[in-house]
């Protein structure tokens, strides 16, 4: 059994993003997905700080401090892209106009609750950014994360113990071990890495799992 690395997970998510989709890739690991989108598919990347049609990082020396993404890194704008203000940008998100957003997570519950903004540590400074808007706004919310914490606990849980980002908002989970749909009937495994069995996956996941029909 061979776990996927972050790039491999990103590549796997990229396969599921169809041409013409309006997509927001969350800060952190999900931004890697952009590198794996097929060049022959036109996909519209949204950045919550006010652009649609985001292109790759600029060549060194071509950075513009006024053309950045939500992670505050320099980016470019594709031909046909455009700029808008924060009100319009979050209307796109909250209004259900994005087809897909991909977020990282601390935990996802069996019913699709998402926890990805706050560890709950008493001394942590709370900071949420646009995570809660993305979680509830996009038509489909994908989570991309390791299946387990570094200490081996399942990040898919019966009930989130970290503070929630959104309730019942996750549609699909991509981990280093499996692709799992969140359905009204429960979690359904679409794929596992080579050599992994459903029983093995069940053994390390803290929740009931069935194969998708």
């Amino acid at each position: 059994m061979k776990r996927l690395d972050r790039k491999q997970i990103a590549a796997r998510v990229a396969r599921d993003i169809p041409e013409g989709a309006y997509v927001n890739l969350g800060i952190g690991a999900p931004t890697l997905i952009a590198n794996f989108l097929p060049k022959d598919r036109e996909i519209f990347l949204h950045s919550e700080n006010g652009l649609l049609g985001m292109g790759p990082a600029p060549a060194p020396g071509q950075e513009d401090p006024e053309l950045i993404n939500a992670g505050k890194q320099p980016v470019t704008l594709l031909t046909g892209g455009c700029y808008f203000h924060h009100g319009d940008s979050f209307a796109m998100m909250r209004g259900g106009h994005l087809d897909i957003c991909v977020l990282g997570a601390f935990q996802v519950s069996a019913s699709g609750d998402l926890a990805n903004w706050h560890t709950g540590a008493p001394d942590a400074i709370p900071a949420v950014g646009g995570a809660m808007d993305l979680a509830i706004g996009a038509k489909q919310v994908f989570v991309m994360m390791d299946h387990q914490t570094k200490s081996g606990e399942s990040k898919i849980v019966p009930v989130c113990t970290y503070p929630l980002t959104g309730i019942g908002c996750v549609n699909r989970i991509y981990t280093d071990l499996a692709v799992i749909d969140v359905t009204p009937q429960g979690l359904r495994v679409l794929e596992m890495v080579e050599g992994m069995t459903l029983d093995e996956l069940r053994a390390i996941s803290g929740v009931p799992l069935e194969m998708a029909a």
Partner: protein, 228 residues
């Protein structure tokens, strides 16, 4: 003749009073009106409530205002950043009040103020810590949180070009909160890279009509020079 151009940064912020609520544009440093903030530090107003997406970066701009102990409370979505050490220190010392608002609720509460709405039901944050104690309602099968508008006494924003009637256009992603803050404040002050003659801005592309702007301060040469 109406001329909203103010040549001095000091004059532009002279009437910001102690205890004022001040919106400050920008997302990180893009669109942050650093020169106006420096003028505000110089001016000396204190006990301010600041509305911004972040809580300052490094030692300049908003961070410098915090460091000068002029801010009683900050309303923002994302205070914690790699270089937000000024805010972090004040917060941990209990010397600044923090209201964390999901970024889209921050945006639509500012928009609601500018548009004269009394309150809005937003789905963002429902069922989370950030909605605790707030009124909620189920509408057509979906859950919403009642959020109040955020008004301000002043907005300090950065635009690209402006004219003597206060019409503004922005540049790339430096636009961010500028247009919505301009509408939500009683007195909006814009620093611009360039003042243009009336009529030079195409009437189809004015992003902030002059009705929302009280003062325009030209800052020669502050446009980023990198190409893109």
């Amino acid at each position: 003749m109406i001329n909203k151009i103010v040549s001095s940064l000091a004059a532009a912020v002279a009437d910001v009073h102690d205890g004022a609520t001040v919106m400050i544009g920008g997302f990180g440093t893009a669109g942050m009106p650093s020169e106006l903030i420096d003028a505000l530090i110089e001016q000396g107003a204190r006990d301010l409530t600041i509305v911004n997406n972040n809580a300052g970066n490094g030692d300049t701009g908003l961070a410098a205002l915090l460091k000068a102990r002029r801010v009683r409370k900050i309303i923002c979505s994302f205070p914690r950043q790699a270089d937000s050490y000024v805010f972090d220190g004040l917060y941990r010392a209990g010397e600044i009040e923090l209201e964390v608002v999901p970024q889209g609720n921050l945006a639509c509460r500012i928009e609601a103020a500018g548009a004269g709405l009394g309150a809005i039901f937003t789905p963002t944050g429902y069922g989370t810590l950030l909605a605790e104690g707030k009124e909620t309602r189920e509408i057509n099968g979906r859950h919403y949180v009642l959020e109040m508008p955020i008004h301000a006494d002043f907005a300090l924003i950065k635009a690209h070009k402006g004219d003597r009637w206060g019409n503004l256009v922005y540049r790339k992603t430096a636009r961010n909160f500028g247009p919505i803050m301009a509408r939500a404040a009683a007195c909006t002050i814009a620093q611009v890279s360039e003042v243009v003659e009336l009529g030079e801005l195409d009437p189809e592309v004015v992003i902030t009509p002059g009705i929302f702007v009280k003062r325009v301060v030209p800052l020669g040469g502050s446009t980023p020079t990198a190409t893109a």
